[in-house]
Amino acid sequence: MAELRMREALRDAMAEEMRRDEAVLVMGEDVAVFQGAFKVTEGLLDEFGERRVRDTPISENTIVGAGVGAAMGGLRPIVELMTVNFSLLALDQIVNHAAAIPYMFNGQARVPMVVRMPGGGGHQLGPTHSHSFEALFLQVPGLLVACPSTPADGKALLKTAIRDDNPVIFIEHESLYGTRGEVPEDDGVLRFGEAAIRREGGDVTIVGILKMAHAAAHAAETLAEKHGVEAEVIDPRTLRPLDLDTILESVRKTNRAVIVEEGWPHGGVGANLATLITEQAFDYLDAPVQRVTGADVHMPYSRRLEQAAIPHEEHVVKAALAALEGSI
């Protein structure tokens, strides 16, 4: 075990896969000489050279398009978009090409590409640079969606993503790049669709992704200390495929669920999961599924307003208590 930051764990994943498989390459804005806007590609240019670590023009649709072509031609490109926000410029390539081509060609053409990009708010970057688009990509058939919250998961999931023959949207969180965690020093991969139970409890199930996985875990400690509530905390780690079984098993035990995400409420990850839970565990619910989401607004620039628009631990505690109202 080594203690690594998230950015180091992701870098190690890419480096290990590049050593293992010559078809793996990295491209994106400032990924080579500048070593990445968030320094995730640090050292890769030195080790692998400019043929495999390529700086690109500022043109997201082109970067992803080149990735799709490279993937169809037999390479395994890792495309870095500087942030999730700029993926909007590349949606045509992501949705109409990367996701649809394997279907349109009946599997004769595959797109083994990873699109890595960080999202999330909290840094006073305003409405256009603070997005959480997990739900947007979750909607598209043909895309796999990963959203790691720990360095160990980040490394193992990215290795799996690189080896997978499907296009993978790999969403990182800007605020989590510096978080440290134990990372196994093996070649371990993690199957997509395998949720982590971060904490066991019998009173309420809390599902959180990315930074909100941490908010959920902290909320669970507060619930235990201050309210005598034992929450079960689940991090799905990948949204497609989703380990619904683990979540349903937990909800059947606790009868109550809270879903935490940073994105908008309408049509969100929580809205989707709440529906799945209601469809498949209806007879086990003792209260409506609670959602904790970002506010239904464009991200304000003002620090206070921005903080008010992002979910925090206290909102998770409140939602859990609301789900438990009448039983504690």
Partner: protein
């Protein structure tokens, strides 16, 4: 169509009970008309409509209790109601629904964004809200419903403890374990089956005995005899909740003092002798209220509250007077008691006590007190310790005035003595300041001229 919800009629109100609908479905309602009589945790009040129209639907029936914010009625314009009535009594088969009355569409429809503005009648009938939340399907969570079905419990017989009275898992599990029917039922069948198979009457005896106690609907005789149950009224529930909250959260300590009321007894006798027919003669309790009010003005901490980690200090001195009323306890408030003379205080307290006895007291008259006086002297109680009325800082418990031996200037003589006990919340009112406050009350009562000033 306007929705009338259970209003919040007092600060502490969390739910209300519909006592009586003062309008019937189809009645015209004007703004300010008394619509419904509601029992809150503090009083019964007639609630005035703040919308005009025709009472289209009553959602909560008399006798039912719902949380504040819960819809209790619908008020629409006249055409809406006649349209509904024209459809017959069976609302699910209702005919036309007014265009101005879009039924809440099902979620899937709403999200499709393609809902026609006026759905065809048949669909509208399906989409309409449950015919009546009152007499219809009880609110229960899915798992509560499933367990109730499995254990053959009747949900309509259960009280829900969830939000808005929703029956939750804990409620049905409690009912299942306490009813015993769920356990006794199958067991009884099994026992009789065994008896039938064996064909021996000897088997039925003990087996039936073993089963009958748990399956009997009559509550069993305990060491305390049979137990009957009464539901506390709203007010009694509030008393229970607030008193336990007070004792559990406010660290009480008690100061006792004996006050020589001899001069006040003499003074009151003079006032009484000089009073004309119909004059209000201040009671001793009124004098205690006045003395406390004057002392409270000088001791801000006693006229405050410890709340949310801060001291709240109030600019007005409002003294609550505990009044026993019809199996309950209420504390009407004499506002600005420090500013009022004894006769005004006496007038206020008479009027408030009468309104309590008549059940006419309103929440505003029961709130806003900054201190409380509780007097059991009229029952001959010498002294007692009271529970603080939260979040106030203190309560004065007043005993009877009795002529007792007293030592004055080395001589044994008699005096009219009254024992008082001041219960204080140590989070805001500490021993020495509390003692100073109580000493001031004593001085004011022992030298009655100061009360008249």
């Amino acid at each position: 169509m306007a929705e009338v919800v259970m209003p919040r009629l007092s600060d502490s109100m969390e739910e209300g009970t519909i006592l009586q609908w003062l309008k019937q479905v189809g009645d015209e309602v004007a703004i300010g008309d008394e619509l419904v009589e509601i029992e809150t945790d503090k009083a019964n009040m007639a609630y005035e409509s703040d919308v005009a129209g025709t009472l289209a639907e009553i959602l909560v029936q008399e006798g039912e209790t719902v949380a504040i914010g819960t819809p209790i009625a619908q008020i629409g314009d006249a055409s809406e109601v006649s349209g509904r009535d024209g459809g017959g009594t069976d609302r699910t088969a209702a005919g036309p629904v007014g265009a101005g009355d879009p039924p809440p569409p099902p979620v899937a429809k709403a999200s499709s964004g393609a809902v026609p503005p006026t759905p065809p009648p048949a669909e509208a009938a399906i989409n309409a809200p449950p015919a009546s939340n009152g007499g219809g399907r009880p609110h229960a969570s899915p798992i509560a419903r499933r367990i109730a079905k499995e254990r053959q419990l009747d949900l309509s017989q259960l009280q829900g403890s969830g939000p808005g009275g929703r029956i939750v898992k804990a409620d049905v599990e409690r009912a299942a374990s306490s009813a015993g029917g769920a356990v006794g039922g199958p067991a009884a069948e099994e026992a009789s089956a065994t008896a039938g198979g064996g064909g021996s009457p000897a088997v039925t005896g003990p087996a039936a005995d073993a089963v009958s106690p748990s399956s009997s609907p009559v509550s069993p005789e305990t060491a305390k005899g049979t137990v009957s149950y009464e539901d506390p009224s709203k007010l009694q529930s509030t008393v229970a909740r607030r008193m336990s909250e007070s004792k559990a959260t406010a660290p009480h300590f008690y100061l006792e003092a004996e006050i020589d009321m001899s001069r006040l007894v003499a003074a009151r006798a003079q006032i009484k002798a000089g009073a004309k027919e119909g004059d209000v003669v201040p009671s001793f309790n009124d004098m205690v209220v006045k003395a406390c009010a004057l002392a409270l003005r000088e001791h801000p901490r006693a006229n405050g509250a410890y709340r949310d980690g801060r001291f709240e200090l109030y600019s007005r001195v409002n003294v609550g007077v505990a009044v026993a009323a019809r199996d309950a306890l209420v504390v009407p408030t004499i506002f600005d008691a420090d500013q009022k003379n004894l006769r005004q205080i006496a007038g206020d307290s008479r009027a408030l006590a009468q309104r309590v006895r008549d059940g006419q007291i309103t929440p505003p008259e029961l709130s806003g007190a900054t201190f409380t006086v509780s007097n059991l002297g009229m029952f001959g109680i010498d002294s007692f310790a009271a529970v603080i009325n939260p979040p106030q800082a203190a309560i004065l418990a007043v005993g009877a005035i009795a002529e007792r031996p007293a030592v004055r200037d080395g001589q044994i003589t008699t005096a009219h003595l009254m024992r008082v006990n001041l219960a204080c919340d140590h989070r805001i009112l500490y021993g020495a300041p509390a003692a100073e406050f109580l000493a001031r009350v004593r001085t004011l009562l022992e030298e009655p001229l100061s009360l008249a000033l």
